[in-house]
Symmetry: C2
Subunit: 398 residues, 2 copies
């Protein structure tokens, strides 16, 4: 009790001191938002006395077809103006998950200024984050227990003539051990970069939690930048030479080549890793799924564990991407002969790319190519990719 | 020319493919904002057809006293509504610097949705970032050339009974060398955390650039979390046990003790570092300046290079912080005897803590304690702290 009282007093002093300090440096008054109840009801609040309309947009909300018949938009929820110009809405019993949300103030999308949890979804958007606790999201938290290290590393990519950045996760115990480890190469999607998996993907926490509970083998995870025209995520720190291109390079095969020619040799020369096929895994989502397909077709004996997330044999021409598929039948036969221990395909049943997965599966079936298929609810979302990573990591290097 | 044409076509294809892809995943139309001209005029744009007022708030703008006589606020600039509901303002010839800015839409502070460069200033705010190029900001850019590595490391703090996170920068060449390096311990301010110096502080780029140009010695830089009640920045990744306290602990001496008892031994056991006083430097800003003063007074023989930024002998009682200064005269004499190679004090002349620096200097002068004083224009700002880091890093380990 004594300690508890002392720590309460300390806590109170800290709050007072920071609030006074904040006034000196110009902080604004902050509401409690979002507020998560014990039953996972969530209340959102925004002070906007002069606004005529405030709506909530959260990525748990359903998409509805647009009035003009083209595309779909999220079904927004109106917030209600109350005392002192504070707009409020309460959402009932959200499922445990890591969500993104924004407010729409008189038509303009804004973050929740009361919430400092913010994440960027590649070149698409920046959103406020909401963690709803529970079984489905417990893997995403940094829990007590041993933890891995994430390194932001610059390496020379000779094949792209760029010094580039990647993020490398080493598992708990790596720095104090003499063991060699297997390596998972983990690729992001179109619009993303090397910061996607460590932030929105929560890969370091997922791996720490799976490894600490004995559900996954200790492994190194390499999170590259899959845009061959980009040195690094050019977001907080400007990078020279800075590319003005948004990102991309799907179908160019340039990233796939640099992964094999530059990234894997760098990792195998700078980390204590097992340098054989059985100790290499490759998986990626969307564009990274395409890069996984391409890389393993071109290099059938490099990886024993292969995971394709939310991507299949897509006709990418509607995205302006031309793929050379003339060698595909031969490539499938070559990979079949190489006999990887796992070829895993995962897709959401509402994913806009699900048809490409149907095509891929029927093509592979014609070749009697062995793969495991995992279909989940939902679409082309980080919710699915976090789940897929947590499942794939438990199946490899065993 | 051939390569150039090919790369232009590739670039075009990439843009098309990402834009089409973005429509599929629900991206919104994006304006060019901010647009920096060759003469550093900057145009800001926001689409807000339904808004009745849009203002620009940038941290280059002057503070003006509030109408009620209490405190000061930034002098906002009105934006003007034009075609298709796009609000615009052009700011002339901004000085080269890294700025933060926001839009105020009908009274609500929002980020610039066209700009994905976003940074969090501790618990205070999240802002859109604007880099204006030129001599004063060239140290902040990731240039071509060798680069250091930043590690996010979890370590056991026995004295705080927490597994905590810090960020450790190793200089270009560290991983391929057998040399031992000196270490700079670099502390953030109140409201900040271990992500402050690597993001808003741009410390990795500043160090890379100074080391590569021979202006600073190769060194390791340790960026801790200075809030003794906090395991790690609890922003993108929730941390269990999560503290509900905003941050703080000024005056508790708990962080200072853990720095000496936990952080320095961890670094000296896990990195190739020179383990002597002449190879240790300590500097910090604001709360981190206070922690620098406290740590070096309590441990006069630990650091040869000491830098106090934007802090002095402050009366912290107005912030609810009680400091025990009964031993100060003796501590000054002890540190004087220890004879550090550099005791550096830096402050902006408009800093709200400048009086504490005046008090500190006159107290040190009474003891004929040798220090170097650097006064800069401006106030309690990241502009000053980036400049101070770049100056301090050039004076140490020489």
């Amino acid at each position: 009790m004594k300690t508890s009282l002392l720590s309460m007093i300390t806590a109170f002093m800290v709050i007072i001191s920071i609030q006074c300090f904040a006034q000196e440096v110009g902080q604004v008054e902050r509401l409690v938002s979002p507020e998560v109840s014990s039953t996972n009801d969530v209340t959102f609040r925004l002070k906007a006395p002069a606004a005529s309309s405030v709506k909530l947009s959260g990525n748990w909300m359903p998409m509805v077809p647009n009035a003009n018949g083209q595309g779909a938009s999220r079904q927004l929820v109106d917030m209600v103006k109350g005392d002192k110009g504070v707009w409020t809405v309460k959402v009932s019993a959200l499922e445990p998950e890591l969500y993104g949300y924004t407010f729409i103030v008189d038509g303009v999308t804004t973050l929740d200024p009361s919430n400092l949890k913010v994440a960027r979804d590649g070149t698409f958007r920046t959103e406020s984050l909401l963690y709803v606790p529970g079984k489905a999201s417990e893997l995403y938290w940094a829990k007590t227990g041993p933890k891995g290290t994430v390194r932001q590393i610059w390496y020379d990519s000779k094949s792209l003539n760029l010094t580039r950045r990647m993020q490398v996760y080493t598992p708990p115990g790596y720095d104090d051990s003499k063991d060699s480890y297997p390596v998972l190469y983990l690729l992001h999607g179109g619009g993303g970069d090397e910061e996607a998996w460590p932030t929105l993907g929560v890969a370091p926490n997922i791996l720490d939690n799976l490894i600490n509970s004995g559900k996954a083998k200790p492994m190194i995870v390499v999170m590259t930048n899959g845009n061959p025209n980009q040195a690094a995520a050019n977001v907080v720190t400007p990078v020279i030479p800075a590319s003005d291109l948004p990102v991309g390079g799907m179908g160019s095969m340039l990233f796939e080549k640099s992964l094999v020619a530059d990234v894997i040799p760098y990792i195998e020369n700078h980390f204590r890793v097992k340098k054989n096929k059985e100790s290499r895994a490759l998986t990626g989502l969307s564009m990274g799924g395409l890069q996984t397909i391409n890389t393993t077709f071109e290099n059938p004996n490099l990886f024993s564990y292969i995971g394709v997330m939310s991507m299949g044999f897509a006709d990418m021409s509607r995205f302006g991407v031309k793929l050379d598929v003339s060698k595909r039948d031969q490539q499938i036969e070559d990979l079949k002969k190489a006999n990887p221990k796992l070829y895993w395909i995962a897709c959401g049943k509402d994913d806009f790319l699900i048809e490409s997965v149907v095509t891929m599966r029927s093509t592979l079936d014609k070749h009697a190519f062995r793969y495991v298929y995992r279909e989940s609810p939902g679409g082309h979302t980080w919710t699915n990719w976090r789940i897929y990573l947590s499942e794939f990591a438990q199946m490899i290097f065993k």
